[in-house]
Symmetry: C2
Subunit: 219 residues, 2 copies
Amino acid sequence: MRASDRAYATLHADIINWRLVPGTTLGEVELSERLGVSRTPIREALARLTAEGLAEPQSGRGTVVSGISLDHLDELFELRSALECRAAELAALRGDRDTFLELYRKLANAGGLITEDDPSRSGYYRLAGELDSAVEAAVGNHYLNQALKNLRVHLVRVRRLGKDNPARLRDAAREHAAIALAIANGNPTVASAATTVHLDNSLRHLLSTAPDISSEPHS
Amino acid sequence: MRASDRAYATLHADIINWRLVPGTTLGEVELSERLGVSRTPIREALARLTAEGLAEPQSGRGTVVSGISLDHLDELFELRSALECRAAELAALRGDRDTFLELYRKLANAGGLITEDDPSRSGYYRLAGELDSAVEAAVGNHYLNQALKNLRVHLVRVRRLGKDNPARLRDAAREHAAIALAIANGNPTVASAATTVHLDNSLRHLLSTAPDISSEPHS
DNA sequence: ACAAGCAATTGTGTATACATAAATTGATTT
DNA sequence: AAATCAATTTATGTATACACAATTGCTTGT
């Protein structure tokens, strides 16, 4: 594996997991010493992070971890809604009925997955990821999928802002199940509407439970 | 201006204007000699182009100019539709009536701009760009605008594939005028529908007039 | 003649040295 | 004492040298 890939993966994970908080300066010299590689691969990693939106150039000099303030959450979710609603529509038109019917069954029974035994809720998030992957595969659109992928980087980061209490997760699972069912039924209108409802609920839950952080806006 | 910026700008323009055709290998050594800078800024420029989707890593070794085949035009326009329809909706909800009414008037009279005196159609394209900018400003969503900006890079490239005959451009101007009017009227449904119609017409025109190139697909 | 292996060349990955620009600190002057 | 200018320091931008991997071509053996 290339050194630049390792540096990128390390920094990416550090930012996603909020070990590097917004506003942290990413100095090339400091990072090259901390990660044990020269500045060249560090520069490449920082360029990738900047292109991804996880970091941004500081006025004239240096790079800093980009911030996601609650003020911009609604903007993020507007883009998410545009992409995911259309993706759900297309999946309803093109997807395989049985695939999404199976996902519907699993999601409808996902309440059992959300227990105190699994504080990271990995079971639920894995299932939600399966639905996302199935939609992507059914859509079969490179450009749309790429845009969704770029977006999800920020969504993972945002997820840490809210407290995912079991009640909300069970509701979310039901909403996901509704989306899967609409796609299985080949109904794009309902699939899009169910996605709209789900995203609105998710956003309002986030805004109501997230801590009142005030990191600088996303440039 | 930094050498990496100049290298990026040069390569970007060369790819957009099809001076570098899809599949062209972008060797670091060759480019550093041709552009008169060392490999380091070349690497940074290539990284930016790759992130943008104008270039892509060749299996294991090197970077090549990415291709846009007609097979993928529909995918590109699906993403475009998702983003621009939503943008039109939001602009209708938030935009300033007078701004878009003024744009409507100019677009409705754009037929006179499309003359044989202006073979590059710069007058029309400038006006279309004004509408795009007004929509962006009205939407006021950093993430959505960024996604649109990323997309337009590819659209500019694709435009060169089709022959923009005056009849189609006059139709396009009328379609744009319809979008502007719907936004001015604050009607998101009509704004979205008019955008859908316009994009469908544009895509079908492109597919019917574009030369039968067969560059390799976008990986 | 064809195939396989080895060598040579070419190109990318990484490290490091040097140049340059910006920020900070200290000193001097008002 | 405060403000401004200069100098020093620090960090980024660029160039280049070195290491390594891959591909290509040549040679040799079957």
